[in-house]
């Protein structure tokens, strides 16, 4: 451990004095402390802060990733400039040297992330105090959705119902001779298609229709002054001329709590979030929400006339609730600062992998080649989801026999080692004021920080162990 710590300390000391590190640090500082004066968002203070958070955290993630790869050149530099001759003639096992380098880079990254995080947090609060909120809604959004860490409860889709209905329809069609003598009907695919139709149908609320959503385990503070947020996106399938979707919401189980009702006029095909009293959640932590596709008259009678435009006949629209989770309920569970720390932790796990990757490449290649390899893997990791899907498609359709099996196996191994960065990117979640869960962070630590980083570090140690550090290629 002494040697690892010595190398790590030296790495940090080197990184602090690297010109390229200075450049990145200055760039980061410029972005963090300059963005608040240019980021405007949607014109509200909450929008400006959210824009600042998105840009600054994305910049931190990208610049730190590049800086990490550049710092890992330290190993190839020491090979080229032959400081390695001094190091490898000391009682320093090679694996400890690689590990020390990695630890030093990660330590430096952590230090920078900490400073960047403090800067971002400070500047976000600075925007909040230096600019007055545009209106009451802006002020409430600032408290409830920006400087918040909200747990997100998604509605449970009745998937079993979809399955059963799809199967029944399939059997019925079969009995009715719908498929005729077609021998190419794949039962599994057909049922999956019918299941999708059932789900779409469930999401669709016809004029005058109602959809009920039940949320369980909504463990929020039910105090009178507390609120919960409801987030949804509605699409009118027959496009409304004013692009407005009108809806009526009844929130809270009338048998358990005093329900809260509201009429809404929201832009078509966009996410909307609104707050309702937390008292609408029942004591058993359940929340029932009714979505009605019609408007009510002043005496609570359903009519098809817009209240704001009483003389204008409103056409009935079919409303479809999107996307996967049609309605979400969110409530505060943590602090903005704690959430920021967890976002930064996920970024750090990504950097841990990149540090290992850069060092592994440096054990084999000289700087330009090593950085090229590392950047390629970094880009692959950023598009890992898309690439994985493409390869699955290739495996299913494009390749045959042994070649398919062998190639598929190789690709699967490569894909296992290459992390899926977007799945551990919590910036948007954080900016939306949603809680970055500890479980997510632990998954990131386990998968990115331990398994994938460990595999790459092991490879780096092995490659360096067998390498002649003074190798001459004629």
């Amino acid at each position: 451990m002494t040697s690892i710590w010595a190398v790590a300390r030296h790495m940090v000391s080197e990184a602090i004095r690297m010109k390229i590190a200075m450049f990145f640090i200055c760039l980061l500082a410029l972005l963090i402390f300059g963005l608040p004066f240019v980021a405007r968002g949607d014109g509200t203070v909450s929008g400006a802060i959210q824009a600042f958070l998105v840009y600054s955290l994305s910049a931190v993630s990208l610049l730190m990733a590049l800086l990490t790869l550049f710092m890992s050149r330290s190993l190839s530099d020491e090979l080229v400039q032959r400081q390695i001759f001094f190091l490898m003639t000391k009682p320093l096992p090679r694996w400890q040297y690689v590990l020390g380098k990695w630890f030093g880079i990660v330590l430096f990254d952590a230090l920078l992330l900490l400073l960047a995080g403090a800067g971002i947090c400070g500047m976000a609060h600075y925007i909040a105090v230096s600019q007055p909120p545009r209106d009451a809604l802006d002020r409430q959004k600032l408290t409830d959705q920006v400087f918040a860490a909200r747990h997100q409860a998604a509605v449970e889709l009745p998937t079993k119902l979809f399955e059963r209905a799809a199967r029944e329809r399939y059997e019925r069609r079969k009995e009715e001779g719908y498929y005729g003598s077609r021998g190419d009907v794949n039962e599994k695919e057909e049922i999956a298609k019918l299941r999708m139709e059932e789900e779409q149908s469930w999401r669709t609320v016809n004029p005058g229709g109602t959809r009920e959503f039940l949320f369980q385990n909504v463990r929020c503070d039910r105090s009178a002054d507390k609120t919960i947020q409801i987030r949804y996106k509605a699409m009118a399938t027959n496009y409304p001329p004013d692009e407005i979707v009108r809806s009526y919401w009844l929130i809270g189980d009338p048998e358990k709590v005093q329900p809260y009702q509201m009429l809404r006029r929201d832009a078509h095909d966009r996410f909307h979030t609104f707050s309702v009293p937390a008292g609408t959640v029942a004591e058993d932590h359940t929340l029932r929400i009714y979505f009605l596709n019609y408007v009510l008259s002043a005496d609570q009678q359903p009519i098809l006339v817009d209240l704001d435009h009483p003389y204008e006949q409103v056409r009935p629209f079919v409303i479809r609730l999107e996307p996967t989770t049609p309605v979400e309920v969110m409530f505060g569970v943590g602090s903005f600062e704690g959430n920021l720390v967890r976002v930064l932790a996920l970024i750090l796990f990504k950097l841990m992998f990149l540090a290992a990757l850069g060092l592994a490449a440096s054990t084999v290649f000289s700087f330009p080649v090593a950085i090229l390899v590392s950047l390629t893997v970094y880009v692959l990791a950023e598009f890992r989801g898309f690439i994985g899907e493409s390869i699955q498609y290739l495996g299913a359709e494009g390749l045959e026999g042994m070649f398919q099996a062998g190639f598929g196996l190789i690709l699967r191994v490569i894909l296992f080692v290459i992390p899926n960065f977007p799945s551990f990117d919590a910036v948007n979640t954080f900016v939306d004021g949603r809680n970055v869960t500890l479980m997510w962070v632990l998954q990131g630590l386990g998968m990115l920080g331990v398994v994938q980083t460990g595999i790459v570090l092991l490879a780096a140690c092995l490659m360096f162990h067998f390498r002649e550090v003074s190798e001459v290629s004629i």
Partner: protein, 400 residues
């Protein structure tokens, strides 16, 4: 059984091209043995395989064939490396660190406690004459200064085995002299030293044994004084003589040996000596310099001191504490001998048979010879005269 510090058997190294095809055989079937306390010289022109051999001894390169043992273990063994100090042919140091940080870093890699690191760092900086420049980044150092730090880092762990690859490259004559003195003293303190160089004078000055490589193979090896001995010639050194005396000597040799004198000349002062004297005078006058200053004494942590401590110290500090003796030391010492006027000595010489030069090599076969070449040469020359002087009967007979 005493395990040699270094033992190689059939050591061979092939360098390959990108396609792994063997291209150059840098070292061929090399058998070496270096024993404890020896100062061993690896000689050879550029490309003779010296550095490759050293790199294999250090585990920086892996042999293609053959075996290597350092302290009886594989060169890659961590425990072995803890006992080795290495100065590569160039000082590949971190330009962004200063001298103290550099030594501290390498000290950490040897797991030295912080107080030991601090103490050794200060002592070594003093020894290499860079204490006043310890806060400067190494990137600003001259080549010679970097070389001195390279040497200091090689000694931070008080190594049992010191490998010096071209140690005097880039050093001024003072530095070169100090390095040579240092090697001698370390040798005296029981350290084993492997010195690789193509500067033959350096090797001749300090090494006990040498191996001469060419084309990756050992061409010749053995004790330095045996390799250098010229048995077909005899050298006599005397105070300045009158031309008539020289003529008389010439005649005697002609008569007795039927040979002629090959050369009669006055010994010139060595340029190194003049240079060292000038620098010493400047240092005494406190002339400002940004380079290395006079080095301090060797730190005590570098092994125990032997009985010849005072003499060694005197030699090591010769360049700094007194004006160096001009020219060969023996010129000054001969008059001090209780032999009377020089002419008397010569008369005695003329009266006896020339004796073969006694170099004492037999006595030193038992243990590696610590003293350096010139010192031995001086002693050898003195021994010729002393042996002659110790025969008063013969001398008096001749006078009669």
């Amino acid at each position: 059984m005493i395990i040699p510090v270094v033992q190689t058997v059939g050591l061979t190294k092939l360098f390959k091209d990108f396609w792994r095809r063997a291209k150059v055989e840098a070292v061929k079937n090399l058998n070496l043995e270096i024993h404890r306390g020896e100062v061993f010289g690896l000689l050879g022109p550029n490309g003779s395989g010296k550095s490759t051999t050293i790199k294999m001894l250090l585990g920086l390169l892996y042999p293609t064939r053959g075996q290597i043992a350092v302290f009886g273990r594989a060169p890659t063994d961590v425990a072995t490396k803890a006992r080795i100090g290495f100065l590569p042919e160039e000082s590949y140091l971190y330009r962004f660190l200063n001298a103290r940080e550099t030594l501290d870093y390498y000290g950490r890699l040897f797991h030295l406690p912080s107080h030991v690191r601090r103490e050794r760092t200060e002592r070594l900086l003093e020894m290499v004459g860079l204490k006043h420049e310890a806060r400067r980044r190494l990137g600003e150092y001259s080549k010679g200064m970097a070389r001195r730090i390279g040497l200091a880092q090689a000694l931070i762990n008080d190594p049992d085995f010191l490998i010096l690859d071209e140690p005097t490259t880039g050093l001024d004559p003072i530095g070169t002299r100090q390095i040579k003195d240092l090697i001698r003293e370390l040798g005296n303190r029981g350290k084993t030293i492997l010195l690789s160089s193509h500067l033959l004078a350096d090797v001749e000055d300090v090494c006990d044994r040498v191996s001469i490589l060419y084309g990756g193979q050992q061409r010749q090896g053995g004790r330095v004084k045996e390799l250098l001995r010229q048995t077909e010639r005899t050298q006599i050194i005397a105070p300045r003589l009158a031309p008539e005396t020289i003529e008389r000597i010439r005649n005697v040799i002609r008569l007795e040996e039927e040979k002629d004198l090959i050369e009669v000349s006055s010994p010139a002062e060595r340029l190194e000596t003049i240079f060292l004297r000038i620098v010493h005078e400047a240092q005494v006058a406190n002339v400002a310099t940004s380079g290395a200053r006079a080095s301090g004494a060797m730190p005590d942590f570098l092994g125990p001191r032997d009985e010849g401590e005072a003499l060694v110290d005197e030699l090591v500090r010769a360049a700094d504490r007194r004006v160096p003796e001009p020219g060969p030391v023996e010129v000054a010492e001969v008059p001090a001998a209780p032999t009377g006027p020089a002419d008397d000595v010569l008369e005695s010489l003329l009266a006896r048979e020339p004796e073969p030069v006694r170099d004492g090599s037999e006595a030193e076969e038992e243990k590696p010879a610590p003293p350096a070449g010139p010192r031995e040469a001086i002693e050898a020359d003195r021994s010729v005269i002393d042996s002659l002087l110790s025969e008063p009967d013969k001398r008096s007979d001749h006078r009669d």
